[in-house]
């Protein structure tokens, strides 16, 4: 008796392969390691079969079939390299190149261009077309981020499908038809999408390119570093590409659990603010003037002044500092200086409200598996982590109901009692509200209610996990009544010395006018920061450190995933921040001997067992602790 399964077996180029029903010929071939050339097909978009590059022979079918749009059937016999297929591939490429400008030497895509590569692999060496080519204006600005070269476009519809199926904004469209078809926005208005950079990555030719990357480099001249976007707590994985030690671009580095292969423009185009404009030396204020000194002298001077203030010191860290740095800075403040006044981020809120681990946090990818998602705070939450929108839109397309609500009452009403899996997405600052909403919803609905809270900064989550706030120690350990005060209360608490540790121009201290006045009156201000800062003229000691893209260590994203960051540019003699922190602690008499960030992590892991060296890349597991 035949067994009914949902698997089908077919042959591709004589090799047999078994795949699930509903698999495309293209993917079945890929499973065998057989590459079928494509342009329009994209794994995250519906097949449209418009470019005809992927035609293959299928036995018993009269004409060649597009492998990107035909699903496998049991017993199918597919051939991908027959003479007929090769003739068609030649033909398709010859057509695509008929009007193509072939300006590869000045095209930013050159060297990583599917059209170029496939012409070499599958195409004819020469063109028979000697009529005048179609001409369009070169490099038309689609927005302040993107240039469009319509002469190079092969009309694969990937960008328009991204706009319709991935971001849902439908800004890009095909206009006119036939040989006159062009890509454009409505009435040539500038594109406003927050996700335009992705168009340049999916465009299989040099039609859509980034203005920031224009004429910067050939791909083979880039030094590629696998790291994390400094933009926000989403923690999107990126390749940071640098040339001659200058950043040229950020490209997506697909992590299906986090970014799903996309970046937002805020993060992607943030790299110019990380360009290092030179190497600075530490400085110490003597007789009102900042004088250049060695790191040792500067650290000693910092230690001397901080010792005087002791528990009247307050420490602020950027939520873009690494876990290792935050752990050390936290030790320096609590253990060495015996002060409880720690805070990160801007304003009041996060550090003060996050008093326990987010055990039941909803993983980003699980948004797709909810049946109702409450976006409490609406667009403001998306603005804080833009790639979240893409995940939510994808979820919506799968049938998840996403409710954009501003207050908890509306949220409670939006979800019906039959809901199976409810997700609440909001900012960490609204935690108390979310806590109570979660409780109410749990009583109202049948299924589970989980939440995903968005902190500020690429390591805002790490900062709270590691106790970089006034209320809790590392791993949310209780401080036994020795809690400190949050940033807005430091003046009232009688703080006399301030140690500011900045790590990214995107998440710096940003003193308000009032704060500046207060800082001006302090007896000691130690400023450890990667770039000249508006606070420089108030500082007594300046310790140049490294920016996010120059650091090695780990950061934790909103869902609690601990990910590695690696230096994409070499900051040369600028000292690693963990070394500076250790140096100051040593100058204050501490016996610290860390040799690298991994050793710091090992120590951190003892204090916060949820953070495990063998689980970097995964979410920290808090409940295992019990």
């Amino acid at each position: 008796m035949a067994v009914v399964t949902d698997q089908v077996t077919l042959t591709v180029d004589g090799q047999s392969v078994t795949v699930a029903k509903g698999t495309l010929i293209l993917d079945a071939a890929k499973k065998l390691g057989i590459e079928i050339p494509i342009f329009c097909s994209h794994p995250k978009m519906e097949p449209v079969a418009v470019c005809r590059m992927c035609l293959v022979e299928v036995e018993k079918m009269p004409k060649l079939q597009p492998a990107c749009a035909v699903y496998v059937m049991d017993g199918m016999v597919v051939r991908t390299r027959t003479e007929q297929v090769q003739r068609y591939q030649n033909g398709v490429l010859e057509f695509l190149l008929a009007n193509h400008p072939l300006d590869c030497p000045i095209c930013d895509k050159g060297g990583e261009c599917p059209l170029q590569d496939q012409t070499y692999t599958y195409g004819p060496g020469a063109s028979r077309y000697d009529f005048p080519k179609k001409h369009f204006d070169k490099a038309v600005p689609l927005s302040d981020k993107i240039l469009l070269d319509r002469e190079r476009c092969v009309l694969c519809w990937r960008c328009t499908r991204f706009s319709a199926e991935i971001s849902g904004e439908r800004e890009l469209a095909l206009i006119q038809r036939g040989k006159d078809t062009i890509i454009g926005t409505f009435n040539d208005q500038p594109a406003r999408s927050e996700y335009q950079g992705n168009w340049t990555e999916i465009c299989p030719v040099g039609a859509l390119t980034s203005r920031q990357y224009r004429f910067i480099s050939r791909p083979w001249d880039l030094d590629r570093t696998a790291t994390i976007c400094p933009g926000c707590s989403m923690g999107c994985n990126v390749h940071a590409d640098a040339r001659h030690n200058r950043l040229g671009r950020f490209q997506a580095r697909e992590n299906l659990a986090v970014d799903d292969g996309w970046l937002c423009d805020f993060g992607r185009y943030s790299f110019p603010s990380f360009q290092r404009e030179g190497i600075e030396r530490p400085r110490v204020r003597r007789d009102g003037r900042l004088e250049e000194v060695s790191y040792e002298e500067a650290m000693a001077a910092a230690a001397q002044s901080l010792r005087r203030a002791g528990p009247a010191t307050a420490g602020w860290a950027s939520p873009a500092a690494t876990n290792e740095e935050l752990f050390l800075f936290q030790r320096l403040l609590r253990e060495v200086l015996a002060t409880p006044h720690l805070d990160h981020g801007r304003g009041r809120g996060e550090a003060a409200t996050a008093l326990e681990p987010d055990d039941a946090a909803l993983p980003i990818a699980d948004l797709e598996r909810c049946d109702h998602v409450l976006l409490l705070g609406g667009q403001a939450v998306i603005d804080a982590a833009p790639v979240l929108h893409l995940r939510l839109f994808k979820s919506e397309r799968k049938g998840v109901r996403v409710h954009r609500v501003d207050d908890a009452r509306a949220a409670l009403e939006a979800v019906p009692a039959e809901a199976q899996a409810v997700g609440i997405v909001s900012s960490l600052g609204r935690k108390p509200e979310v806590d109570s909403l979660q409780g109410k919803l749990a009583r109202k609905v049948k299924g589970s209610v989980r939440r995903l809270l968005v902190p500020d900064g690429p390591n805002g989550r790490g900062a709270t996990d590691l106790g970089f706030g006034p209320g809790r120690g590392p791993g949310y350990a209780s401080l036994d009544g020795k809690a400190g005060r949050a940033r807005p209360d430091w003046e009232a608490a009688g703080v006399r010395a301030l140690y500011l540790f900045e790590a990214s121009p995107l998440h710096d201290f940003q003193a308000s006018g009032e704060e500046r006045e207060w800082i001006q009156r302090l007896e000691t201000v130690v400023l450890q920061r990667p770039r000249p800062s508006p606070l420089d003229d108030l500082a007594h000691v300046i310790l140049p450190g490294r920016a996010f893209v120059e650091k090695a260590g780990t950061v934790t994203n909103m869902e609690g995933r601990v990910q590695r960051i690696r230096p994409a540019i070499d900051a040369a003699v600028v000292r690693d921040d963990w070394k500076i922190l250790q140096g100051v602690a040593q100058a204050l008499g501490a016996d610290w001997r860390y040799r690298d960030p991994d050793e710091v992590f090992a120590d951190l892991s003892r204090a916060v067992p949820a953070y495990r060296a063998d689980r970097i890349g995964e979410r920290a597991l808090w409940s295992e602790r019990a």
């Binding site: 179609k134 001409h135 369009f136 319509r150 800004e171 890009l172 206009i175 038809r177 409505f186 009435n187």
Partner: protein
């Protein structure tokens, strides 16, 4: 120039008739062209608002069809089909005859603003009566020079179709303005092939 109340009501009604508002784009475009004689970017945006669809989708649809005009043309629209069946029955000569008689080339409008002549390689779906032409969305079939003369004769004096259908709603002055004012007309040539 924003759309008249009646047109907007019609667009809303079309949207209700279909399960997806997207299906109402073409009827909506017809309604606009009927009212104004052509479809400007401004009207496209208005359609988008009423159908609650992205404007790029409306432009994508309207620009796909050569039947939607993007700038003011003559009072009457004459389209000669030059697809194969019509071609076999003498469409090229028909076109040449029209050009000679009207003293204009295909794509142009007569001096008095009465007739815009166009040709289309798109089969207009009346091959049985080839050679044929479409006059303001009505077919004239089995063309001969006499028939063509008679049609042109009539068009010279006849008002534009939308002025006939809704005489009350269209103030003639407004209609005149729409045809002569280039403002709002979309210069399509701007980004097409150079």
């Amino acid at each position: 120039m924003s759309l008249r109340k009646e047109t907007v009501a019609m667009i809303r009604e079309y949207a209700r008739r279909y399960p997806s508002a997207q299906s109402a784009i073409i009827p909506a475009l017809w309604a606009v062209q009927h009212e104004q004689g052509y479809v400007t970017a401004e009207s496209l945006a208005e359609i988008a608002t009423h159908l609650e669809l992205p404007p790029s989708l409306i432009e994508s649809t309207s620009s796909f069809y050569s039947m939607f005009l993007t700038r003011p043309e003559g009072r009457h629209d004459v389209v000669i089909c030059v697809n194969a069946p019509c071609g076999l029955r003498g469409a090229d000569e028909v076109l040449a005859y029209c050009e000679r008689t009207l003293g204009i080339r295909a794509g142009q409008t007569t001096q008095d603003g009465a007739i815009t002549l166009r040709s289309t390689p798109e089969c207009l779906g009346a091959c049985g009566g080839a050679p044929m032409m479409q006059v303001d969305h009505r077919f004239e079939e089995n063309l001969t020079s006499e028939r063509i003369d008679a049609v042109f004769e009539r068009l010279r004096t006849e008002p534009a179709p939308h002025e006939v259908v809704k005489p009350k709603a269209v103030a003639p002055v407004k209609g005149e303005k729409a045809r002569s004012g280039v403002e709002g007309a979309r210069p399509r040539a701007r980004r097409t092939q150079k």
